[in-house]
């Protein structure tokens, strides 16, 4: 029988992981909700930002926080670049073509990263303390990213609900044509959205680099999970994605402790398949 203390620790780890997963899922959802296109290569953009952070910190000796800001700025720029170069030309194309465009980007990023930096795993050495409360270990490498992810999510919420641009973004996702009638150039809104999505990817990358090492196929590690969370929460549904992130992270974490890490993922997937069968629209289905 598993000691309750380990279960509690797993539950807490799950919450901490959930925060970062939520950043990934919400970034992807934001872009889909506004532009109606799924960036299949989203987590690969995260991977690129992680490499940027790795290099400025490990090779150029920048402090981590500064590197993180650089990664975020790079992510935002990358997001805008992707939108202008790849998305804009295919905005009116058939869905399959749009999916293949970002799919091609996935191939390109993964292989280019392999070419530039080989498949070696690269990580950042951080000497951070670990605390213990009531027998539960809380390492800073998990706590700090979690805290920051929550702050970022709050920031995103404030941005979307309290700022003019954020409200405009929400409006476009509800009715693009009506917003055009308000004088809003769709392309400008898309660019802002892509920048925000890219920014979130950069931040997520920085937070992930606390605990994980980066390699060209990092997208294969977290990509599927992100897609599953988005589907589970309802594609385009921000609240749903938020909830689903923690549901999945809890399942993985707790099942990982009760059985094994792999089983944790397997059970999460099974839950996903069952949910698909029961409610493919997602936990909080978005009305199309």
């Amino acid at each position: 029988m598993i000691e309750p203390i380990f279960l509690a620790e797993a539950a807490i780890n799950g919450i901490m992981l959930g925060g970062i997963l939520a950043l990934l899922a919400l970034g992807l959802n934001l872009i889909f909700g506004v532009i109606d296109i799924v960036w299949i290569a989203y987590v690969d953009l995260v991977m690129v930002c992680m490499y940027v952070l790795y290099f400025v910190v490990q090779v150029y000796g920048w402090p981590f926080w500064l590197g993180a800001l650089a990664a975020m700025a790079f992510g935002a720029a990358l997001g805008v670049g992707v939108h202008l170069l790849i998305i804009t030309p295919i905005l009116g194309s058939a869905p399959v073509n749009q999916l293949l465009a970002t799919g091609g980007l996935l191939f390109f990023l993964q292989s280019f990263a392999t070419f530039l930096w080989t498949t070696d795993h690269k990580s950042v050495r951080l000497a951070l303390p670990s605390w213990e409360i009531g027998g539960i270990f809380l390492p800073a490498t998990r706590l700090i990213p979690f805290a920051i992810s929550i702050l970022a999510l709050v920031g995103l919420y404030v941005f979307l609900t309290r700022t003019y641009v954020g409200t405009a973004i929400r409006a476009v996702s509800q009715d693009r044509e009506a917003m055009a009638l308000m004088g809003a150039s769709p392309q400008r809104i898309y660019i802002v959205t892509s920048a925000v999505g890219g920014l979130m990817a950069g931040l997520a990358g920085a937070l992930l680099l606390f605990q994980y090492s980066v390699h060209p196929f990092f997208g294969g590690q977290f990509g599927p999970l992100t897609f599953m969370i988005c589907v589970l929460g309802g594609l385009g549904n921000m609240v749903g994605a938020f909830v689903a992130s923690f549901v999945m992270s809890e399942i993985i974490s707790i099942a990982g402790v009760v059985w094994s890490t792999e089983m944790g993922y397997v059970i999460a997937f099974v839950v996903f398949i069952v949910m698909i069968f029961a409610r493919p629209g997602g936990i909080l289905a978005r009305r199309q």
Partner: protein, 236 residues
């Protein structure tokens, strides 16, 4: 001097042509209606003016400037506000956020507070429900919100697409009353409507659009006595 001028406009969707060689004009301060049966092309007409559809042929001028082919968000900046068919308010945004979006253009945003006051004065209901989700408003309230949102951009011309559609008769009268009040404030209006009788009481001039072509034109009082009003009314 015409505020809005259309000359020989032809437009449609894909292989389908909805408007054939349409010419009309609206002078500043006027209230003009375009009436006609279902499927006549009335909605298409407004979508061409506001730029949601590009005309295939013909000229479109606003205050003398050529507009044809420009994208909607650019045309709107010239001072045209379009209240679309079905209202198209942002359902998940609050009433006040909807109105905020109406003032998206920089010039409108600068005078935002003033415009908001005006709209709340005209539509007290909206002031009451300012924090409510727009999707939960009744049909009539949504129509008022849509019109209020259009006013927020401080337009020179307001296009109204079937404002009475889907509303209970009491609400229809209320909405037309409001349009009359807006008209009295000095706004220039182009209304597209199936409810011929009601709209003719409201406007100076009207056009009859049938199967994509202008069949008749004249002062509202004259047209009110025409056979076609009775025909159109029965056709509803």
């Amino acid at each position: 001097m015409s505020l809005l001028e259309l000359r020989g406009v032809t437009a449609g969707y894909g292989h389908f042509t909805a408007l054939w060689d349409v010419s009309l004009s609206v002078a500043a301060g006027e209230a003009v209606a375009v009436v006609g049966p279902n499927g006549a092309g009335k909605t298409t007409l407004l979508r061409v003016i506001s730029g949601l559809i590009a005309p295939r042929a013909g000229d479109l001028a606003f205050e003398g400037a050529a507009l044809g082919g420009k994208p909607a968000y650019e045309i709107v900046a010239h001072g045209i506000a379009h209240v679309p068919e079905g209202r198209r308010i942002f359902p998940a945004l609050t009433v006040s956020d909807n109105l905020k979006m109406g003032a998206y253009l920089p010039a409108a945003r600068r005078r935002f507070a003033e415009s908001l006051e005006r709209v709340y004065a005209l539509f007290p209901v909206l002031a009451e429900r300012r924090a409510q989700r727009a999707g939960s408003l009744s049909g009539g309230e949504q129509q008022m919100l849509a019109i209020g949102r259009a006013l927020m951009s401080r337009p020179k011309l307001i296009l109204l697409d079937e404002p009475s559609m889907g509303l209970a008769p009491v609400m229809v009268l209320r909405v037309f009353d409001l349009i009359r009040r807006i008209r009295e404030e000095g706004y220039t209006i182009l209304v597209v409507e199936q409810n011929v009788r009601q709209v003719l009481k409201l406007v100076d001039r009207a056009y009859l659009l049938e199967v994509g072509r202008i069949k008749m034109e004249g002062r509202a009082a004259e047209l009110g006595e025409q056979d076609f009003v009775r025909k159109a009314y029965v056709g509803l």
